[in-house]
């Protein structure tokens, strides 16, 4: 079975946001797979996806603090036309990566108990974000 599905996420502020339920809600076919993979790809270069702790909002706040410090707006950037948050957003996007390939087993995502999918929004006004989910298996 192969499924390819466009998913649009509404605008979120700069920061790290849990989207596991929203993504799974668009993929009812996942329940039919005994074994497979789900690739979730974000079609942007200033936002990214990662997997991390799905419980405490403190963790997501600390992600923002660390990444803003590690990749500061005040730096020797030459690409500044699109605003001070743009070039840091590109670097953060590549540090975290544009996609996740997640295992599926017994009709469910086979993640650890504490793993959730984060949308990493690196722009102040990134707007809606477009994902492509590809699901395959048997």
């Amino acid at each position: 079975m192969w499924v390819s599905r466009d998913i649009t996420l509404g605008s979120r502020p700069r920061g790290f946001h849990l989207i596991t339920r929203e993504v799974l809600g668009e993929l009812p076919e996942l329940g039919e797979l005994s074994v497979g993979l789900l690739n979730v790809h974000i079609r942007h270069t200033s936002a990214s996806l990662t997997l991390n702790e799905n419980a405490s909002p403190d963790v997501r706040r600390d992600f923002r603090t660390w990444f803003d410090r590690a990749v500061p707006e005040d730096f020797a950037w030459t690409h500044t036309l699109e605003g001070p948050d743009d070039m840091p957003a590109h670097i953060k996007a590549s540090l975290l990566g544009p996609a996740l390939s997640l295992p599926v087993s017994g009709g469910r995502l086979a993640l650890g108990t504490w793993q959730g999918v984060y949308l990493c929004e690196h722009r102040d006004r990134g707007g809606p974000r477009s994902l492509l989910a590809t699901l395959w298996g048997e």
Copy 2:
């Protein structure tokens, strides 16, 4: 062919550890694939997987030094309930990523000569770690 296999890794100290042989030892079916992929997923948010130099232990030691410096315990963390090594572990886990999708060709992992799979253990006492390996191809 699809194979889905749980693999448990014994406890290791904080640092970077080669696990290529241990993972492959659990996947004898890999030898039957002429072409395919192996997804190795770690079901935790304070440990990660990466691919890097499989020869010199100095490289793995330098990984630890750099990551401990780049993501220090002494920082403006708010999520500190689980100990000083916890929040840095979450950040390091996302910088390195929770999974590898490795090509298989001619019954073998088609890695470069110097590429080995690292378990990146970011906690001082992370305990045993659970992987899910998914293998598919023909």
Copy 3:
């Protein structure tokens, strides 16, 4: 359909280089897939692959500046036998990752408008680089 193809990239200087067209030129079969995935894997531990902005060369220059600053040659490295650019190259390679799993839809890579594949060359004289592309789908 499964395709496994070795691709050799010519030597490039240290920095970030767009290779989308070069990679796709080696994979004419991609046009036959209505849905699938393309895994591009680099068989080295001192170079990596990422997806980022495919338009402005300033972005790629700023990538180099930030990564050289974040992972400096002047550091407490112990693995120095292969030159001052070697150990930083290993760290950068793992921060950015050795592979991309890219969605294919309607006979094309389903990337965002601004997404291009970067070869991230972290050595001063890395020489030719070997990729393995694996394509599958239906």
